[in-house]
């Protein structure tokens, strides 16, 4: 049964996946638009490379298409499952890069910015992306999922395959490391001015 696209966008993830498995092309489009941006965003923030992130996002979505016929509604969240696939694919790619020294870290991704984003915000985001690339893989993934993607600790625990306490430890250590890495950039970015204005 083909449903109008507008009505599909309001369906739950599970319902869309079931429709997709039944051959509904509209569900394929709705799922593509719903999940590809999330997969891409996480991959890009973790890998710091736009082309690699696109490959990871496409591969993760391909795995979603393959698992759709066997998907058991209610057993897991589609988004959590997808984040887990993306996280694992990123880990595999980071391992292949072996040691990440300062020279091999890719240039920070130039995010496509909204027209109203201030120059200061752009610089902050770029500085954060650059600093994130210096964190160990697990810390980076945990910090991105918690503080940028806005997921809960239990969700992150499922995605990374660790306990909630381990997630708390990873994010705490990651934030401390980020703080040290960004320390030298505060004045340049005008953050000190922000603080004094408050």
């Amino acid at each position: 049964m083909q449903m109008p696209f507008d009505s599909l966008t309001e369906l739950s993830d599970d319902a869309l996946l079931a429709l997709f498995a039944n051959g509904d092309a509209g569900a394929a489009r709705a799922l593509t638009l719903r999940f590809t941006p999330r997969a891409l965003a996480h991959a890009q923030r973790v890998l710091g490379d736009a082309a690699e992130a696109e490959d990871v996002a496409q591969e993760a979505m391909m795995r979603l298409w393959r698992v759709a016929p066997e998907w058991r509604s209610g057993e897991a969240q589609v988004s959590t499952w997808l984040y887990r696939v993306v996280a694992n694919l990123c880990t595999d790619r980071l391992r292949k890069r072996r040691t990440v020294d300062i020279d091999s870290v890719p240039e920070p991704v130039d995010p496509r910015l909204s027209a109203d984003a201030s120059l200061q915000q752009q610089e902050r985001a770029a500085a954060l992306h650059e600093a994130l690339l210096h964190l160990p893989d697990r810390q980076r993934q945990a910090v991105v999922l918690r503080h940028i993607e806005g997921l809960t600790n239990p969700q992150i625990a499922t995605i990374l395959g660790v306990g909630v306490e381990a997630v708390e430890s990873l994010t705490a250590r990651g934030k401390r490391a980020l703080g040290r890495l960004l320390l030298g950039r505060r004045t340049a970015l005008g953050l000190d001015d922000d603080q004094s204005e408050k």
């Binding site: 049964m1 997709f20 498995a21 039944n22 051959g23 509904d24 092309a25 394929a28 489009r29 799922l31 593509t32 638009l33 590809t36 941006p37 891409l40 965003a41 890009q44 923030r45 736009a50 992130a53 696109e54 996002a57 496409q58 979505m61 391909m62 298409w65 393959r66 759709a68 016929p69 991704v109 995010p111 496509r112 910015l113 909204s114 984003a117 915000q121 752009q122 902050r124 985001a125 500085a127 954060l128 992306h129 503080h147 940028i148 806005g150 934030k175 980020l178 703080g179 960004l182 505060r186 953050l191 922000d194 603080q195």
Partner: protein, 123 residues
């Protein structure tokens, strides 16, 4: 304590900036992902939507009679009837003697006012 709070606030500004500037999936990527999805639907043998298969006549009859339980009850009642015909219980003969020789008339069981009502309706 104050320094830690200040650090958190600083980091919060960085995280906020990153949240407001997410990487954007371009049209080419979305097109590739959608093409994969449609190809998976056709090449991986996903079942195409199809009409419900026709229900056989014997299944329809079975359902009309109340399923296997209904048919079982009817079969049992039939066998009991056959059994009573071949080997009636001893008390049944005495009961049969009470019936008139020329059979029973259903009119005997009709309420007394039945005929009056019929007469009134017919005017």
């Amino acid at each position: 304590m104050t320094k830690a709070k200040s650090d958190d606030t600083d980091l919060g500004l960085y995280f906020q900036a990153a949240q407001h500037q997410p990487p954007i999936a371009n049209e080419a990527l979305l097109a590739r992902v959608l093409a994969d999805a449609l190809a998976a639907q056709t090449t991986h043998g996903f079942p195409a939507p199809r009409a419900q298969p026709a229900v056989p006549l014997w299944r329809q009859l079975l359902a009309a009679l109340g399923g296997w339980q209904g048919v079982g009850g009817m079969a049992t009642a039939g066998l009991v009837g056959v059994w009573l015909g071949f080997s009636p219980p001893a008390g049944l003969d005495a009961l049969a003697l009470l019936a008139p020789a020329d059979g029973l008339d259903l009119g005997q069981f009709a309420p007394a006012y039945g005929l009056d009502l019929v007469a009134l309706e017919e005017g």
